[in-house]
């Protein structure tokens, strides 16, 4: 299970078939005296829905922030398709194919739903100032293509009717969906969702579950932080459990839910 601590080769070109999609090896992160993450290692394989669970303050969101370049890590390395992404800036991590959503929704509040998704296209488009001012044919094609894809994504997550409403005026559940649509617009290989079901009612949760399963069926790999144990157990192919910044268990939902350490740390406190 211990990932080889290979010398940090710049390109790390390995055979894509044998390489897991995301490899986290020995990652540590401290804030002053607080050890938020200690020696975390895990692997996410293509096509999985990988769950990350643990009590509040266990370091799940910290790990997400470290993965997506918002935090720099103190030790260890993170690879996406064998290429190092630790030490990269957030937009570079996104270019490499890892998109995310936020626990406390972070939409562009004063932009419409459609515009939010169009911003997601930024990373996969190239037109600049001259193209924009002169509306060169390439820019127009690119813009039309972005709009078409963005409309399709809004439809896909089920909020096509809200395309021209301001993001902040959408109902809560739809804001979460919009964040997913925006992340999907960046054409990720791995989508990291930070508590996507938080604050949703049972009907919204069921719809979200359907959406995530559909995304998986379409070949997307998902990394999921979630507090809703029922949702996680039913959805995830594998789970890792964090507690106080340490990974205390990893495996299929069945195995993890029977692990005494997990029960003590997490499930034991829950009224299931």
């Amino acid at each position: 299970m211990s990932a080889p601590k290979a010398a940090p080769s710049p390109s790390g070109k390995l055979d894509a078939g044998s390489t897991p999609l995301l490899t986290v090896s020995g990652v540590s992160k401290a804030f002053g005296g607080l050890q938020a993450l200690s020696d975390i290692s895990l692997q996410v394989h293509t096509g999985e829905i990988f769950g990350l669970i643990g009590p509040n303050g266990a370091g799940k969101t910290t790990l997400f922030n470290a993965l997506t370049g918002l935090y720099s890590i103190n030790h260890g390395e993170i690879r996406l398709y064998g290429r190092r992404i630790d030490g990269r800036k957030p937009h570079q991590v996104l270019h490499a194919g890892l998109a995310r959503t936020f626990q406390n929704i972070r939409l562009f509040a004063e932009m419409t739903a459609l515009e939010n998704v169009l911003v997601g296209r930024h990373a996969r488009t190239t037109s600049g100032v001259v193209g924009a001012v002169l509306r060169l044919p390439g820019t127009r094609r690119e813009e039309a293509d972005s709009r078409e894809r963005s409309h399709a994504l809004l439809k896909r997550v089920g909020i096509a009717q809200h395309a021209h409403r301001l993001a902040k005026n959408l109902p809560y559940g739809d804001q979460r969906r919009l964040e997913i649509a925006r992340a999907l617009a960046t054409e990720p290989r791995l989508l990291a969702l930070d508590e996507p079901a938080a604050g949703m009612n049972p009907a919204e949760r069921a719809a979200l579950r359907e959406l995530l399963l559909q995304l998986q069926a379409d070949g997307l790999t998902l990394l999921l932080i979630e507090h809703d144990v029922k949702l996680v157990m039913g959805l995830c192919t594998r789970l890792a459990v964090l507690d106080y910044g340490v990974k205390i268990a990893e495996g299929t939902p069945d195995v993890v839910s029977r692990d005494p350490k997990v029960i003590a740390a997490y499930l034991g406190d829950e009224t299931l």
């Binding site: 996104l94 939409l107 930024h122 037109s127 193209g131 820019t139 301001l166 925006r182």
Partner: protein
């Protein structure tokens, strides 16, 4: 049915466009006849401020970077024009070469200012940019020794007007049987540049670049996590804004024929910021409206002495004092009753309506 409708729509759009063009073309003559020649001059200045306000609007309105030193770019454009087109260094390059140079230098300084301030936001950025504006002004004030570059507080005089061949824009010309004074001709030149700047702003607003700027303004972390290179786009915003500032500076120098550091003080930066905030931040028609109103209003308030004399027979309050007082009252009133600006974008209007409702 629908084709008839769309035909009508296109036709009415062309009609509006035609009327607007005709109005803008006749405006200096109407103003000249109705209010006097000094108001045509003010019209020219108003157009300059529209260019300046639209430039600052890119930095403040779109990218959300509070810049209080914007006037520095205006000054740089003006001094580049003065250096290359006046007896000061004995250079007399043509305006079509000097204006782009001034704009380019301003853009370079925009990047130079932007680079060290990338991590700053809000109040902190405002303080640093304010310092930058003052540094440029103080440099201009003191660079007359040991080598006389800026001629210090005396400023640079006898700057060349815009000239095309032997056609001097500052002189009166008889064209099509009418006499056009220099002020009238300058109006058309400035109008041309203003329309260009408006066009560029509109195109940028509705583009990949414009959306990225607004995304940075709305939430910088989310913007970065959505794949926007926030560093490059902020620098681009600074550079674009500074380009417009430098262009306006060059036009100002050619128009006045004289510049000195005094014209580029902090008050000027704040005035341009007021135009944006008052008109409607991030909304092009609002910014244009704000620039025109705030150029003309202080001038109109110069007549308060005459009003007092007409009403009371004598002058009670010095018009110069009263003017600034009324100006301040007007600003406060607008912010109280129209907090989103005089002509807010539909977006901002909704935002404030939501906040109240």
């Amino acid at each position: 049915m629908s084709s008839v409708l769309s035909l009508n729509k296109t036709r009415s759009r062309w009609l509006t466009f035609g009327l607007l063009a005709l109005g803008l073309a006749l405006l200096p003559f109407l103003v000249d006849a109705g209010l006097g020649r000094s108001w045509v001059r003010l019209l020219d200045l108003a157009l300059l401020y529209v260019i300046l306000a639209l430039g600052l609007n890119i930095v403040v309105g779109y990218a959300g970077l509070l810049d209080l030193g914007y006037v520095a770019f205006y000054a740089l454009g003006a001094y580049v024009y003065a250096w290359l087109s006046s007896p000061h260094f004995g250079l007399h390059l043509p305006f079509w070469a000097v204006l782009p140079l001034g704009a380019a230098l301003a853009a370079l300084f925009g990047v130079l200012l932007g680079a060290p301030t990338l991590r700053l936001r809000g109040d902190y950025l405002a303080i640093v940019t304010l310092g930058f504006g003052e540094i440029i002004r103080i440099f201009l004030n003191n660079l007359n020794a040991p080598v006389n570059i800026t001629n210090g507080p005396q400023g640079i005089n006898l700057i060349d007007p815009v000239r095309l061949g032997s056609f001097d824009l500052s002189q009166s010309h008889a064209l099509f049987g009418y006499t056009f004074t220099g002020i009238h001709l300058t109006y058309y030149l400035f109008l041309l540049f203003t329309l260009m700047v408006i066009f560029i702003s509109m195109r940028l607003e509705d583009s990949r670049i414009g959306r990225a700027w607004v995304a940075i303004r709305e939430d910088e972390i989310a913007a970065a996590a959505t794949g926007i290179n926030t560093r490059n786009l902020k620098l681009l915003a600074f550079a674009m804004g500074a380009t417009f500032g430098g262009l306006a500076g060059g036009l100002f120098a050619s128009f006045q024929g004289f510049i000195s550091p005094e014209s580029f003080n902090l008050m000027e930066s704040i005035m341009i910021l007021c135009m944006i905030v008052l008109g409607g931040m991030g909304h092009i028609p609002g910014v244009i409206f704000g620039a025109v109103v705030l150029t003309l209003l202080p001038e109109a308030l110069r007549y308060t002495g005459d009003w007092q004399r007409n009403l009371f027979g004598q002058i009670y309050i010095d018009p110069a004092d009263l003017r600034m007082l009324l100006f301040g009252v007007a600003l406060v009133a607008v912010m109280l009753y129209r907090p989103a600006g005089l002509l807010p974008s539909t977006r901002r209007r909704r935002e404030f309506a939501d906040a109240q409702g």
